[in-house]
Amino acid sequence: MQYDVVIGLEVHAELKTNTKCFCACKNQAGSEPNTNCCPVCVGLPGALPILNKFAVEQTIRAGLALGFDINRTAIFERKNYFYPDLAKAYQISQLVKPICVHGSLRVGDKVIPIHRIHLEEDAGKLVHGADGNTLIDYNRGGVPLIELVTEALQEPHIESAEEAIAFLEKLRQIYIYAGVSDCLIEKGQMRADVNVSLKPKGSSTYGTKVEMKNIMGFKSVYRAIKYEIERQRDILDDGGVIEQETRKWDDDKGENFTLRTKENSQDYRYFPDPDLLAVEISDAEVERIKKSMPILPDELKARYMNEFGLSEYDADVLLQFKHVSDFFNECVAEYNQPKNVCNWLTTEIMARIKTETGAGPILISKQNLLWLIKNVDDKKINRLNAKEVLSKVWGTNLNSEAVAKQNNWIIDIDNGALDGIVKKVVDSNPNVVAQFKAEADPKILNYLVGQVMKEVRGKASAADVMAKIKELLG
C-alpha cells in the first residue's frame, strides 16, 4: 500500500547568553562539574528564579528570524517530572503563552509552518556509570533553551528524512546567523525530537504518531526517520496497528526500541510558576530587537547572486559557515571583485578549513589574502606562486608581500625581456612547433609555456606567455 509520511520536529537549541535563564551563573560549557551553580541551579529550598532579559530577547530574535508573531504577554509554567537531571523535580517551561507563535521556514519549494517557540531551562548532565550509579553535573541546568515545534495538523508537512534534514540544516544556519545560538551539535547545543506517522495516500485522517527523543546529530536523525518509516510501513502492510509510544533510537545498532507507551506516558501537571511573573513585551521592545537583527542567509544569498553575480552554488558554499561569509563580506567591502574573492574562498580557503563536523578558523588575515588576490588579478604574481605564498603565510604571522619578495616571485620582468625569452624557447623547440602546426592542438603549446615559466622562474603570467607564443606562431 502507498502511504503519506508526516514528520513533526521538536528542536531544542541552547541560547547564546552570558548567564543562565533564571540566575546569574555563567552559561558556559566545558567548566569543571558543578562550578557554574548556585542555590537556584541545584533547587535548594527558598531559592527564587529571576528571569534573564537577554534570554527573552534572544527568543524573540529567533522568532523574528522565522517570521513569528511575538506574544505581548508570556507566561512561564512548571513542567513537573521526577528525574535527577533537574533538582527541583520540575522544569520551568512555557505552555499556554509561549514567546513566539506561528512562524514558518522555507525548505526548497515548501514553506513549513511552525507552531511555536518557547523558552525553558536546560537540564543537568547525567553520566551513567557502569557501577550502577549516575553522576550529576548541574552546570547545564538552567541554561536557556528554546524549543521549536512544527505544526502537527497544518500542511505542508515534512514528508521525508531528506526534508527533515534540510529543515534542520536551514534552521541551524538561521539561528547561527541571527546570533541566537552557536548550534554546535557535537556539544549538544542543538537536539531534535522527531515524530513520525503514516497514513494511506491521500487520506485526510492522520495516523498514530511515534516519537523518538533526543537524537544526537543530523545523520542520526536521518537514519532514525528512515528506520521508523520502514518499521511502520511493515506493520501497516501486515494489517497491524501502530501504538502511540516513545521509542529510543540506538545509533550503534541502527534501530529503535520501546521507551514508554501511552498508558504510562508522562503526566507533567503543568501549572503557572508562582515564582515568576508574566512578562509584558511591548511593541517598542519588539521594534528595538527587529532593528538589531543581523542580515540573514536568504537575504545574503540574494545579494550574492543578484548584486555580485555569483552562482547559486558559490553563494551556498560561502553561506555554509557564517565566519566564511563574514570574511567574504569584509574582503569585498575592501576589494570590489566578488567573483575573484569568492573563487579564492570557495577553493583554497575552504580546502584548508573544512573538517568532518564543520569548519575551523580562517588562519590568514584579510590584508594578506587580499594582497594575493589583487596581485594575481594585476598579474604581479602568478597563481601557482600565490598559492605557495598562501601555504607559507597560513597560520603564521608572515606577510604575503614579504614572502613573495623573499622568494623572488614578484613579476618584474619587462615585456621586452619576456618577448626575448619566449622567442628563444620557441626557436629551440622546432619539433614542438612542427607538431603544433600539424595537429593545431593548443594543448601542445603548454610544453612551451612551461619552458618559458622555468626560464623566468615563474615570474610571468602563464596566460600572457601563452598569448605571446600564439602571436609568435601566427
Binding site: T17, N18, T19, A24, C25, K26, E32, P33, N34, T35, N36, C37, C38, P39, C41, V42, I50, L51, N52, K53, F54, A55, V56, E57, T73, I75, N80, F82, Y83, P84, V127, H128, G129, G132, N133, T134, L135, I136, D137, Y138, L259, D267, R269, P272, L277, A278, V279, E280, I281, S282, E285
Partner: protein, 93 residues
C-alpha cells in the same frame, strides 16, 4: 474527593512506595488540602479581567554574571559525591 485511582496515579508519579497505613493517612491529608484550596472557587471574581501580576521586559534581570558557589559548597550536603558530582542510583528513563 480524590478517587483511589487518582491517588494511585499521583503516588506513581512521585515514585513513592507507601504502606497501607500511609496510603490512608496521605489520602485523608490530600482531601483536606483539596477542600481547603477549593474555597478559592467560591470567591466572587470578574472573569473578564486578568488577575496575574506582570513585569515589563525592560525590568528583567540584565545578563551580567555573578559569582557562583564553590564546587564543594554545591555538593556539600549530598549524601554521595564523586569527582565534584552528585551521585545517585542509576535510573534509566
Amino acid at each position: 474527593m480524590l478517587s483511589d485511582s487518582e491517588f494511585e496515579h499521583l503516588r506513581n508519579l512521585s515514585k513513592l512506595e507507601l504502606s497501607e497505613g500511609e496510603i490512608n493517612k496521605f489520602k485523608a491529608d490530600f482531601n483536606d488540602v483539596i477542600a481547603f484550596a477549593s474555597q478559592v472557587s467560591k470567591a466572587q471574581v470578574d472573569l473578564t479581567k486578568s488577575y496575574f501580576s506582570s513585569i515589563k521586559m525592560e525590568d528583567l534581570r540584565e545578563d551580567m554574571p555573578k559569582p557562583s558557589l564553590k564546587q564543594e559548597e554545591v555538593i556539600k550536603n549530598a549524601p554521595n559525591k564523586k569527582n565534584g558530582c552528585f551521585v545517585v542510583p542509576r535510573i534509566m528513563e
